[in-house]
């Protein structure tokens, strides 16, 4: 895909996922928007998948440990053909197969249930270990949040993955510097974050999480790492791409109670697209 095509797809994803979340009246817009470029890169440039066969044994796996960003992965899955795009209009609605947090039973293409923070990375470790055990060559990707990194279980998994030399595990930290109650440096400072992961024995990279080539090339570098897992600290902007949310601490979980709010949030986006449903 050309850079223009990627930019265009990202703009469309932001428009569609914002509309889909707004239809439910409330949703995690901030942490969804910070992941748009990363999720597109994984699903459209990196991961080997067969959407027509979601259980294809050799597929790459993605565990979205920060499960509240589910809607951006649902958007990617819909565009890849795992389910009809019209499903996106059901996010968080009664009887939906696209709940606010990831559910491996409900949603085709979702590898692991996640939502209670800190758990997905451990599960990704188990999946990577199983692949090693079986001599499989597929990769396990995992996206964690920066707020999520407050959880002790993240650091249990960090020890475990390094100890077991899980070089088929590539983790991306969505470091948008904000969590529900405020900025991470005020609520629970993570710095020096890169040094921490290096000290835990991980190959560690820092990238601009909105730069296509930085994301893509660094994941390729991570692919070549042997003998240790890789952490990619992705510097991102919470609520990216919408003037109503970008860089605002209160954009974690946004309420859209009425049409006026809906119009205001949709108008905050950089571009307008045709909705695919």
């Amino acid at each position: 895909m050309t850079r223009e095509q990627l930019d265009s797809l990202a703009a469309e994803f932001r428009y569609v996922v914002t509309d889909a979340i707004c239809r439910s009246g409330v949703g995690h817009i901030g942490g969804v928007m910070s992941l748009v470029e990363i999720v597109i890169t994984l699903y459209f440039r990196i991961m080997h998948l067969k959407p027509e066969d979601p259980s294809w044994p050799d597929r790459d796996r993605l565990v979205l440990s920060k499960g509240h960003a589910g809607p951006i992965v649902y958007t990617a899955l819909a565009y890849k053909g795992y389910f009809p795009k019209v499903w996106l209009t059901t996010i968080n609605k009664n009887g939906t197969r696209l709940p606010s947090h990831m559910d491996q039973i409900l949603t085709p293409g979702v590898e692991m249930t996640a939502g209670s923070l800190g758990q997905g990375l451990s599960c990704a470790c188990g999946m990577a270990l199983a692949a090693k055990h079986d001599g499989k060559k597929h990769r396990v990707f995992c996206i964690i949040g920066d707020g999520e990194s407050d959880e002790g279980q993240i650091w249990e998994a960090a020890l475990f993955a390094a100890h077991n030399r899980l070089d088929n595990l590539i983790v991306i930290c969505d470091y948008n510097k904000m969590q529900i109650d405020g900025r991470t440096e005020e609520i629970m400072n993570l710095e020096p974050l890169v040094d921490k992961w290096r000290a835990f024995g991980w190959e560690t990279f820092e990238i601009n999480g909105h730069d296509w080539e930085d994301i893509h090339d660094t994941i390729r570098k991570a692919d070549a790492v042997t003998g240790r897992p890789t952490m990619i600290i992705a510097h991102t902007i919470k609520g990216k791409g919408n003037r109503e949310t970008e860089g605002l601490v209160d954009c974690h979980n946004v309420k859209i109670p009425d049409e006026t709010t809906y119009q205001r949030i949709m108008c905050g986006l950089d571009c307008k697209c045709d909705l695919p449903y």
């Binding site: 758990q119 997905g120 990375l121 188990g126 055990h133």
Partner: protein, 326 residues
């Protein structure tokens, strides 16, 4: 000591060895039958006897997470998602209450086929005392949707339960008594989680037991028979699912029930019995076990006497309820 298969067969009687060793040997056997089975530990592999039994015999199927119970459950969930059948073991307190949310979400809610094993339930933690004595694992695990809860009473039943667990795709919690246990069941005795076992037939009072307490309940039933009190003893190797019909049929005959468990009387076996009987066939029930208390460093007899659920307390309760029916 790692025993090979021939030596194991020669040993023959699993009741001559500790239940934890039976656990490790049976898990080893399950791995030999199905390489997808794996043993996950959290630095209590020696206490669970999987070190050296499995760590030496099947190192590729042995994973030690160190002191990381929460991570162990997540790793187990990931392995299960990929088709493995992980048995994750540690002491009951750490296997359940310490990582209850991880089990709830990554295992039960996600329906990942993880087998969780709680070693040394209730008062059998003895010397480790109150911090390690978990009296609520049956209760809290029973309250979790999509979770089966088993508590085998002897070595042969333990083996049958483990064979069932390895063959099923059901998230499961199993209590594992670490000690030697007297033989109650024949080798290969069938295990069906939907079926209670009647160990003693009687018409005067129903006695309901599970796991560690069943052996004592059977002794009491036999003793009371000599006094003319006929106990209908039901053993529940599965506390969830719970075989309601066998219980209802029994109390229709006896008119009263005593329950005994190596657990808090809040939420466990006794509660399961009361839930069924209060809705379908109300009769007088006496629940024996640990009242609303924490544990302490003490031996079995001290704790039986302190909390009132040893053999003489069971006998007394059975006599009272057998004699107090209208």
């Amino acid at each position: 000591m790692v025993v090979n298969n021939k030596e194991r067969q020669k040993m023959g009687n699993y009741h001559d060895i500790e239940m934890r060793v039976v656990y490790a040997q049976t898990l080893s056997e399950l791995i030999e039958r199905n390489p997808a089975v794996c043993c996950i530990e959290a630095d209590l592999g020696k206490a669970d006897a999987s070190i050296p039994e499995i760590s030496k015999r099947h190192p590729g199927n042995f994973i030690n997470c160190g002191v990381q119970e929460a991570n162990m459950i997540g790793v187990g969930a990931g392995l299960a998602k990929e088709g493995k059948i992980p048995f994750c073991a540690t002491f009951t307190a750490f296997a359940t209450r310490r990582c209850y949310d991880q089990i709830t979400i990554s295992v039960a809610y996600a329906n990942n086929n993880v087998k969780i094993v709680g070693n040394s339930p209730g008062i059998t933690q003895g010397p480790n005392g109150g911090t390690h004595m978990c009296f609520q694992d049956l209760s809290i695990m029973r309250a979790m949707p999509n979770m089966h809860v088993y508590s085998p009473a002897d070595a042969n039943e333990l083996r049958s339960v483990m064979f069932y667990m390895a063959a099923s795709k059901q998230p499961t919690y199993m209590q594992l008594v670490r000690l030697k246990m007297p033989k109650l069941f024949e080798e290969g005795a069938p295990f069906d989680p939907n079926q209670a076992k009647r160990l003693h037939e009687g018409k005067d009072v129903t006695l309901v037991a599970t796991g560690f307490m069943t052996r004592f309940a059977l002794d009491v039933a036999r003793q009371l028979a000599t006094e003319g009190v006929k106990v209908d003893l039901l053993h529940y190797p599965s506390v969830k699912p719970f075989d309601a019909q066998t219980l209802i049929d029994s109390v229709r005959k006896t008119g009263a029930a005593v329950t005994v468990e190596n657990q808090s009387i809040i939420g466990g076996l006794g509660s399961a019995v009361c839930e069924v009987l209060s809705e379908y066939h109300p009769v007088r029930v006496r629940r024996l076990g640990i009242p609303d208390k924490f544990g302490e460093v003490a031996d079995q007899d001290y704790l039986f006497n302190k909390h009132g659920f040893g053999p003489e307390h069971i006998a007394r309760a059975c006599r009272e309820l057998a004699g107090s029916k209208p």
